[in-house]
Amino acid sequence: MSSGSSSNLEDLYLQSYSFTTTAAIIGSVDRKVFVLLRDGRSVIGVLRTFDQFANLVIHDGVERIYLDGSRYGESTEPQIFLIRGENVVMMGELDIDKEDEPLEKLTRIDYGAAFGEWKKAQTEIVERHTIEDKQLRSRGHLTSFLTDEFY
């Protein structure tokens, strides 16, 4: 096979499965991606496999937490992540030449500290909603707590 065989294979997939979840993601397999999760954390690693629900397997992945636009924390031990599709907000292929560019302006802090701060912010959101929900329910409104503020 010629050197362009992998891209030809990709084209073939896209032609026969165009407009499916598979077609959208297949091009990113074996590439470095970032995945934003619904709880606000991101996973950065190599996408190895996926399915139609956007369940993803990330190889050599690290967790990264961005805090208030100036600091971030990153887990040190690369792991394999199997991410259930419902927790995925978005996934983007990273340009390896530029991937560290956004971090240059940010200060890296210890992952444990970043995680603690992130968890605290989440708890505050939950507590605020619990109070609001209680007040609304006491006035006869139906409420459903949405977690869209997390990411």
Partner: protein
């Protein structure tokens, strides 16, 4: 499936996606699927909240997190869309009568 077909006609056009957390992402629509998951190219967004978007080439957004999609009005034939939605409503009503 009407909106799936509708979005297929918008491929290669520039759209703005508003997520349920109020973040807006602009980009060229590259692909759409039955769950209305989107794939965008040449994205631009507020990168303070998501710094990694600077280094992103293409973005897959899961449909379940999308609130709105802003489309240039000139790209939408509203009469055609209205006709199509009525036709689809008629067809599904017909299914019920026919016991399908």
């Amino acid at each position: 499936m009407l909106f799936f077909s509708f979005f297929k006609t918008l491929v290669d056009q520039e759209i703005t996606v508003e997520l349920k957390n109020d973040v807006e992402i602009k980009g060229t629509l590259k692909s759409i699927d039955q769950y209305l998951n989107l794939k965008l190219d040449n994205i631009s967004a507020n990168t303070t909240k998501y710094p990694h978007l600077i280094a992103v080439r293409n973005l897959f957004i899961r449909g379940s997190n999308i609130r709105y999609i802003h489309i240039n009005p000139s790209l939408v034939d509203t009469n055609l869309l209205q006709d199509a939605s009525r036709r689809e409503a008629m067809a599904s009503a017909g299914d019920k009568i026919g016991g399908k």
